[in-house]
Symmetry: D2
Subunit: 340 residues, 4 copies
């Protein structure tokens, strides 16, 4: 960590900062220039929070030298992490394909959609049984009944199922049915929930928070990893910006940026990013071209009647056609999509 | 709700949208113009989610006519909500003054800081026992021991205490000690937590999410209110923008905007917004001038040794001087600050 | 345009809005609901500015029904605009490839880089002679001497050249040498400059403003078109968001969104979006996969000595390898890249 | 400037960066730590652009030590700059009050509004003769005729007049009539225009760009100052964020942040920030409380008929009442507002 003091900083200011650094078992290297004094921290700076210094009136700016995350960093582990569930892989040469409805709405629809997406090449089935909704008056999900429908879809297709966990109190029931557990965008910094899923022996899909920086996202992955669970999949789903033409701004750059910083697999959710069915294909293609290790696509057999997020869902036949075209893009970057 | 179709929308498109509207027990009014067809929803549109229509390829745009929140709206209740706790008020003519450290670090410091801020005119004491930290390696709070220290500070000063709740599993222990319960920015859309505190008989301080819109913030308040607890205090604490000169961008406009939309009291947290002690006074003054019903200010007796957020904390003597000056600003807008 | 009034709006409020609408030669259709009054504008609403009504205290919200741009809209012209310069096309089945240095730094380098990129398949040469720099102390470009170097590169390669115009006073000299004229991000709302280039008989590359909405961008294109010049190329180059991991956030969604709204060709500049050479290829691939009609890529023969934007520039041999791989992505979406 | 290399950086990488630094006449200090190599630049780093290094694949991050602006910095000149025009001051103890319509619409209205705002305590009259409008079909301003109306208002009131300059070609005519020249938000990075007004002997009001950082804003001021004109007034007018409840997000923190970084006066334009008349007073009060050196408020005698920005304008009688109340806020922070 490097701390640049303001022009008028005094000897006393320097001394106090040195003391603060030593209090954490680190040492300080002070360099007095003509215009500015710079203090370098020697030792494992991960113990220090830059904000401890940034707010001081004598400090101009603070820069970390080392990243504050460790276990999830590419420096810590050079090779790509490949996660395998029931014989299906995420990471490595193939591109995982998660598909299914936003919300589980019943057994029949789950099984039907599951079979359809499996036939099109999906490798994982998704569906929400617990739904975070901005309105208290909206459909909140089927709960455990929904989880059972997912299990039925798994049985019918042989594909692993992924579903969202919102509340630490639901962890046992969700873990009972789900093969992968998703932490949604709104819970990316629900640190208690992260700590709990870090203790599980299940892969975790960690969605990017609505306005999370890549650094914060990796720190949330570190929370999970620090409890022992390193089977983490990062999922880009669009960020909040000033632009209103799309629901979120799909940050396609995050994919190659993350691939350089972390060994974890990175997948993309073009459905939530776009909020419109017509944008799913171009964004999915962009994600593949940019190096994504997987896609998560919403598919519904009756989008116009869906209880949540209907309009961004593809019909099974559209999904099938889209996947065919996306396979060609995957091949162009020497990857395979789904069961292709 | 008004739905504007695209130029090429067909009769079939119109029919499907009408059906979807009727399925929710509402009726549709179709108006065909020269260039566009517009569909108006007749009935209580709060049941409908604009996204149901926005994603359809035949739809150009959708606009709500009514706000999706009700209980917290100014339309529902004209008069300002005034919340009283142990004889101290939030809302109405006076400006509440919450003060205390970011984290509770021990009994002695809590009692000392409590006494100092009480002497300066604070009406409420704040301090965190459970801390949401971006790093798993950072201090996570004292837990129940911290809550006990808060109770000691209350006893020593006679002032009510406010503290953050992060996890529904902690609700009983937090409610046992705290007089007001804070929902932090990262949990503003932790809907399960909102539902739980909605069942409590304690005032809730709902901080604005890091990139929450005012609409989403009010919807989160509606979650709490819909469970029966309408003693909600909204707290502006800065939003995330591209600007890096301050930790967050303090959205002072949110104060008058909210005062028009809702009957709930609105307070401001200049300490977290700014991230620098030197900015606390000007932002606090701005908040008062813009109509805030309260301030939440971090005070620490040894900011340079604080376990979290030290540098944005004021020392007790600085706090005292700042409050004296802020009282003059409050008077200039015909309000009283703290116990002034 | 649809105007929704607030709950408490009076008859007098309605009458004034009606008058204001009529003053512009349009008529108003008032619809009084149980909770709200809604006023629809009948006639060519493009004459009206929503802000005229949005600021009124009695108005809750305003929604345009028609887009405020016309000439550049897909509604006005269904078929894609294909722009041809010296036999090279932008739009239609092929993907144009603009390549060259950020700044023109001399005759020799321009000719050499020109030849190299031409050999790799570039269809257009780019280079800046007038440079918008945030610091007054930085290199501001070679001016007319730089334009002459560009002309030399054109002669050496047979490829058309594109360069930026910053000041209406330079229009004659720039138009004398350049085949295409670029309006940079910082000038996207320099309306006087837009009006001037609208009078030229040269294609205009209109870069997206640093925080421009897609709507504002199209309005700036409309400025150019309204003067008679409809040979406009829109260039996505990243937008400003809170994320600091990349210089800008490349808004890949803008490509399919624009292709639906306008008949103009849309190209992408991954070099400026990313700010890092290593991100150019994945973002370029993403742009192609999402449907871009062209790419603009910075190439420099000595990036480490470049007078501006060196580090995001590719070396000619890297560029050659990148283009080979991108051609495969283009084929996967049934397009051809450059002179492929 | 401090350059942190990535973990895997080689000796060759270090050597190249050293060479690049020496090429600019500076020297490099290399410090090899256990995990990372850090290169410090010794000498006047203002010559270097951090982006020169940021884009290199071997570089992790770059931090400036010194600010890239000099003439406008508080380090360069400790005392506040006070600008005086026709006996009216901006900066120092008093708070300047600019008032008038968004657009000049005629002689009579300008003179009438001028007299009214003068009577209420305004110290400067504002009005636009050249208007930047997002639509080519909107009113573009009266041009020189509008400037003459402003001159008439000056004659009638004795107050100096301020107006916007959009095009370097208009500089002579605007300078002929105006006492202060405004550079609008959309032209904050129109570097040619900045250079031109830097040569004038008139105070310049430099509005913040719609998404300009405080650093970029100061760099634009440095452009003007570097040409010799240091009579520059910075005007905060709101920034673009994700929040849509206000037209822009008024960044009140920018006021105290700037007061620490620069000696230039800082004023605020609450009318453009808010976009609603009802928000003008609270935001103006907030700006005063936060330390602004002036306010710019739109006043129109018939807001509902205004040719631009009507609804955010105050009527003269409302303005008079607002100013009376704002004077009390100014007194509470030991300042005087307008001719108070």
């Amino acid at each position: 960590m490097i701390i640049v003091l303001k022009g008028g900083a005094t000897e006393e200011d320097v001394r106090r900062i040195e003391e603060r650094i030593k209090a954490d078992g680190l040492s300080a290297h002070v360099s007095k220039g003509v215009e500015r004094t710079i203090i370098g921290v020697v030792g494992d700076e991960r113990k220090l929070d830059p904000e401890t210094f940034e707010g001081l009136d004598c400090v101009d700016k603070v820069m970390r030298v080392l990243s504050p995350y460790k276990l999830v960093s590419r420096d810590f582990k050079k090779e790509d992490t490949v996660i395998e569930v029931m014989g299906k892989k995420i990471g490595g040469g193939s591109i995982a394909l998660f598909a299914g409805p936003c919300s589980v709405e019943g057994r029949e629809m789950m099984v039907e959609i599951g079979k359809r997406v499996a036939a099109s090449g999906a490798t994982f089935i998704r569906g929400g049984a617990y739904k975070p909704r901005t309105s208290p008056y909206a459909f909140q999900g089927m709960g455990e009944d929904g989880l059972k429908c997912l299990a039925d879809a798994r049985e019918a297709t042989g594909l692993p199922v992924a579903t969202e966990l919102m509340d630490p109190r639901d962890i046992d029931v969700v873990a009972k049915y789900a093969d992968l557990i998703q932490i949604g965008a709104r819970n990316m910094q629900n640190f208690r929930l992260l700590t709990e899923v870090g203790k599980l022996d299940k892969p975790i899909i960690l969605k990017r928070g609505i306005s999370a920086t890549i650094l914060e996202w990796l720190m949330s992955a570190e929370y999970i990893a620090s409890e022992g669970n390193t089977r983490i999949i990062l999922c880009e789903r669009g960020i909040r910006t000033y632009e209103q033409a799309t629901r979120n701004t799909f940050d396609v750059s995050a994919i190659p940026v993350l691939k350089a910083l972390t060994h974890l697999p990175v997948i993309a959710d073009p459905s939530h990013a776009a909020g419109k069915a017509s944008l799913v294909e171009p964004l999915a293609a962009a994600a593949i071209a940019a190096g994504a290790d997987g896609l998560m696509i919403e598919v519904h057999n009756q989008p116009e009647k869906a209880l949540s997020d209907g309009p961004q869902s593809l019909r099974p036949d559209t999904f099938d056609a889209v996947v065919s075209r996306l396979k060609r893009v995957a091949e162009a970057v020497d990857r395979r999509l789904g069961t292709a």
